[in-house]
């Protein structure tokens, strides 16, 4: 019985480690989708001129958090963005991005999307570094605490 409880504690701690680091993965995935969208929009604006709705509905588009928020914001007029892994400044930027896309002609859109590109590159790089750093750390901490409990219990 004691052994079983110790094993459960070990597994729970490892799971907690993984769960705590998941926000860094989600954040990285979010910025990856965001950057991909920005690049695709740039291509569309300068070449085929597909609309944002066509882009979102395209089956090649992602289905992550970014896409659900952009759909909600633009189509359902829901401006309540509540993403746990973004800070206030980032949410503000996201809203201003959603407000600006599609609202002007080709040239203004391209200059806006180019300026967003460098911001997104930096955010993506930081989120990738954070993921690398914290994912391993939280997992190791989870295993460590799990083992401590495991040893203490048996």
């Amino acid at each position: 019985m004691k052994l079983l409880f110790a094993v459960i504690c070990l597994i729970t701690c490892i799971f907690c480690g993984i769960f705590s680091s998941s926000k860094y993965t989600e954040r990285k995935d979010f910025y990856l989708d965001f950057q991909k969208f920005n690049r695709r929009l740039k291509d569309e604006v300068s070449f085929a001129k597909s609309s944002i709705i066509e882009m979102i509905n395209n089956e090649d588009a992602g289905d992550g958090v970014f896409y659900s928020y952009i759909t909600d914001y633009l189509i359902n007029n829901n401006d309540n963005i509540n993403i746990k892994f973004l800070d206030n400044e980032e949410v503000k930027y996201l809203k201003s991005y959603f407000d600006a896309i599609g609202k002007s002609d080709r040239d203004s859109q391209l200059s806006f999307l180019n300026s967003s590109e460098s911001y997104l590159e930096e955010k993506l790089l930081n989120s990738q570094n954070d993921e690398k750093k914290y994912k391993d750390l939280y997992l190791k901490l989870g295993i460590l605490f799990g083992l401590i409990f495991f040893i203490a219990l048996i």
Binding site: S51, I52, I53, E54, I75, I101, G102, S104, D105, Q109
Partner: protein, 290 residues
Amino acid sequence: MNFNFLPNEVSSAINKIDIKKMREIRMRVGFPISLNYENVNIFLSKDGTTLYEGMGIKCTKEMIKNIINKLTEYSVYAFNARIKKGFLTTDDGIRIGLAGECVFDKEITTIKNITSLNIRIPHDNFGVSDTVFDYLKNNNFFYNTLIISPPFYGKTSMLKDIARKINANYSYNILIIDERGEFQNIRGKRIDSIKFSDKLFAFEYGVRSMSPDIVITDELSGENDWKCVKNASNSGVKIFASCHGENLEDIKKKNNFVPYVFDRYVVLKSNNGIPGLVQGIYDNNFTKIL
């Protein structure tokens, strides 16, 4: 017909009236939304229609903004070429005319602060060309035909019906040059369509690349339109086109009019809402044959 580009309040009011009797919806910021309903101008109310201005649903700036956002699929850059020409079109072929502030940089770059919309409701008037169709052909060979009338007399409806008839009964390849997206629902096994292009480009590239037997196009206006019709006709393609005018004299007076391109002129008459009533059909010497 899909009115999901309109605000809920407006589309639910429209659902309460007979769309077949409605010809246009006019929205002007600050004023009640008006309708052309059975050729009478009335107002749109929550319960359908009303004659009283005060009971009409008032059009707001926000309404127009949301309509434009939906029509452009939140992507002005993708629709700016059409906005510059003063219209947007839905997938159902509903044409929405725009009025606002035109922005110029040598030529027009866009229309901003849009304050008025004219939403024209297309109707499938099957059989509207029945009375004229036999006069537009000699056995199986069609004449170059120009349909003439003021707006709202059924020129486009007649062209659509002719396209449907030729597609169904003849083995000619038809090219529809649809500058404003009003022929969206005209499809068929022998119909090709070039949409949203000016006529100059569409005629040149369409005739060369699609090798049509017949070209159908709406509303000839500027010099280029007449020129490209003439060029296409010289290359052996048969043309069905339309043009604004009250009668044949109006057309002859037009600076850009090119005589002897068309073999048949169909002049439509005032109709009290019935499309395609024929005032007369004339041959290439302007002699009345019907």
